[in-house]
């Protein structure tokens, strides 16, 4: 149980960002019992209706999803020519959106896997919906290369399936590595998310009053009954999945960056791309987690579980990865100059001062300059400011991919083949529509599934320590816990 803290307002702790030497900050506020956590999380999906903001958001998201459906069907029935692509610029909005969405997904895996391996207990408050976000983001990402192939009806040619032509995919191509990386990433993320969901689905099953909920949650809970013999294998499986997902998540955006880095194009052919893309992915993903967490905790009353400290920590990650991205931008320029390759030098000068200077300026100011404001704790802990800055980062990271892809393609070796890219309404509609798909899925998830990993949150509560609050019982198991010790 947390001690009396100076930052209480009317007996309720609202700010747990303060560091008190010798104690761990509480990760669950104003709740001492496990039942309170179960109630706070379960009541969202058990309520008869959702907050009005949910309906408004859902209507908007469905509308955009309709736009996506229309644009995709129009593209399929007409041809890829409905996009603004031209001869040197054969990749533009589509691949920008693909890289953007794959990148968004990375934060979920980072939170669920890497922070798990590092024993960062604060991940438990945010991992569930960050993982859900990963899955929905990868779904959005998958659409773009899928429809960009042109003849969607033979999209199975991407996979090594025996066919009547006796042809196989070309395994020396990074585009094919991407097929394997992204599909593996989606599968493993889904498994990870679902494995984590099982105990919480069992909670909803056991609390369900209606027959439909009992059957629905019951089927997906797989008959989970909290057996410790099961928990033993479950925890081991979870650890192994985290250990497998960690190199996987680093590999996915590295492979995405190979799509560019393995080519010969100035501005793409860069060895810094894999780490730079991974840092950028985590940066944009965390920004998206903040964008989603801020309204979600307000809307569903989860401020005691997704606390200010969680948001503060995420903003610190944004600051770190934003600075890494800034370093990568600077290093790209340095290497372009240092390489002495004239095309490489031109590509970078052109990126900053050529026909896409405005996109470059937007990218640098959104990704490098504004996140530096997170050095100040007042900004890191201000809800409106962090929400605004997370949107800025999302915009900036979209433009980063646009700048890399389009500015390099538009002005390559021969000035006679230079072109300018102008998006069509289909380009813009598909981009906006992908957000519709993402938010539709996310809002449905918030409404019907446990948004917070209840079992995992309970584990990090002081009461979960078997020696909690009882010195006399500690003698068998090493040091006794102190009455206030959050040493779980």
């Amino acid at each position: 149980m947390s001690s009396i803290r100076s930052d209480q307002v009317g007996g309720r702790i609202v700010d747990n960002t303060e560091e008190v030497p010798g104690t761990r900050a509480p990760l669950v506020l104003n709740m001492d019992t496990f039942g309170q956590v179960t109630n706070a999380v379960s009541k969202v999906s058990e309520a008869g209706g959702a907050p009005i903001a949910w309906y408004i958001g859902f209507a908007g998201a469905l509308g955009l999803l309709g736009v996506l459906g229309f644009c995709v069907l129009y593209l399929i029935f007409t041809g890829v020519g409905v996009w603004g692509l031209n001869t040197p610029i054969a990749w533009a909005y589509d691949i920008t959106n693909f890289v953007f969405w794959v990148g968004i997904g990375h934060a979920g895996t980072l939170i669920s896997a890497i922070l798990f391996l590092f024993r960062q207990k604060w991940r438990t408050g945010i991992n569930r919906f960050a993982e859900a976000m990963t899955i929905f983001a990868v779904m959005c990402a998958g659409i773009f290369p899928g429809i960009h192939v042109g003849r969607v009806w033979v999209v199975y040619w991407l996979f090594p399936l025996p066919n009547q032509m006796e042809m196989w995919p070309q395994f020396r191509s990074p585009l094919l590595w991407d097929v394997f990386a992204v599909s593996t990433y989606f599968t493993v993320s889904l498994l990870f998310w679902y494995t984590g969901l099982i105990p919480d689905l069992a909670t909803l099953r056991d609390r369900a009053k209606g027959r439909l909920q009992q059957i629905g949650y019951g089927l997906f809970a797989l008959g989970w009954r909290g057996s410790n013999r099961h928990w033993h294998r479950y925890e081991r499986a979870y650890l192994l999945l985290a250990a497998l997902s960690t190199p996987l998540v680093l590999s996915v955006h590295s492979v995405v960056s190979f799509d560019f880095a393995v080519s010969q194009l100035p501005g793409w052919h860069t060895t810094i791309f894999p780490p730079y893309f991974v840092a950028g992915a985590i940066f944009s993903g965390f920004a998206m987690v903040v964008t989603l967490a801020v309204p979600a905790r307000e809307m569903f009353g989860l401020k005691n579980l997704i606390t200010l400290r969680h948001l503060d920590n995420m903003n610190k990650v944004i600051l770190l990865t934003g600075s890494m991205v800034g370093y990568a931008y600077a290093m790209e320029f340095f290497i372009a100059w240092y390489s002495g390759a004239i095309y490489e030098k031109f590509a970078f000068v052109n990126r900053a001062f050529g026909q896409y200077w405005w996109a470059y300026l937007l990218m640098v100011s959104c990704n490098v300059i504004t996140p530096q404001l997170f050095w100040f704790k007042a900004i890191r802990t201000s809800i409106p400011l962090m929400f605004f800055l997370s949107l800025v980062v999302n915009v900036g990271m979209w433009f980063e991919r646009f700048v890399i892809i389009v500015s390099s393609l538009a002005n390559d070796f021969l000035p006679s083949s230079w072109e300018f890219f102008t998006p069509t309404w289909v380009d813009i509609g598909t981009m906006a529509g992908a957000f519709g798909l993402f938010f539709t899925m996310f809002l449905l998830f918030c409404r019907f599934l446990p948004m917070i990993a209840m079992a995992e949150v309970k584990m990090v509560m002081p009461a979960a320590d078997p020696h909690h609050g009882d010195d006399a019982h500690g003698h068998d198991h090493g040091t006794a816990a102190t009455a206030t010790g959050d040493q779980s």
Binding site: Q170, F171, W177, R205, D206, W224
Partner: protein, 205 residues
């Protein structure tokens, strides 16, 4: 729960008894500390068919119950190895050879010569080898865990018990099954009461 109490003639005669069969006794505890201490005593008492059911894994419980480490990591390792080898064979066969083999259907390799790169280009095959290693290992990890845990199952006697519903919320249970050689209805009930259970209840099959 009541629906399960009438034995129906469709049940295998060998399994049927006159009255509903006792599946287990469950003992409820209020805190992780209490259930952990109680688990040590159940183990010391020599029970074998018993379990602790908790809303989250209780730290130290595996040791208290004497659970042997799972072989899951070994399975995952070999699955990963299988993924690595499959990916290499797949790529080498399809892109580097002109062989025909039977793999559910007859398939023939197609030796691609691209930009003068070697036909058997191992560095280029590494990304897919890595991804399939992870994919096979992760699938084995999750489905191996389900399989060894006997999941999914649509019904379990414990899940029909109303008291047991709080196992996924905030209560901790020790379950001693009736098939345990040391199980004796009244003695086991008294034993569970003596180790600190706040309630002891029968669970029928």
């Amino acid at each position: 729960m009541t629906t399960f109490e009438t034995p129906t003639p469709t049940v295998d005669p060998a399994e049927t008894t006159e009255t509903p069969k006792l599946h287990a006794l469950i003992a409820e505890f209020e805190t992780p500390g209490e259930v952990l201490k109680a688990a040590e005593k159940v183990r010391e008492a020599g029970y074998r068919w018993w379990d602790c059911c908790t809303p989250f894994p209780v730290h130290g419980m595996d040791g208290a119950m004497g659970i042997k480490p799972t072989i899951l990591p070994v399975m995952v390792f070999f699955a990963g190895l299988a993924g690595l080898i499959s990916a290499f064979v797949l790529q080498a066969f399809t892109n580097s050879t002109g062989m025909s083999i039977w793999a559910l259907v007859w398939v023939t390799g197609y030796p691609y010569l691209i930009s003068g790169k070697p036909l058997l280009s191992i560095p280029a095959f590494i990304p897919v080898m890595f991804e399939l290693t992870i994919l096979f290992a992760a699938l084995t990890c999750v489905f191996g865990m389900f399989g060894m845990n006997g999941l999914p199952r649509l019904h379990h006697p414990l899940l029909a018990n109303d008291r047991f519903r709080r196992v996924t919320d905030d209560r901790f249970y020790i379950v001693i099954e009736a098939r345990d050689p040391k199980f004796f209805r009244s003695r086991t009930e008294a034993f569970l009461g003596s180790i600190g259970a706040v309630a002891v209840e029968e669970v029928q099959d």
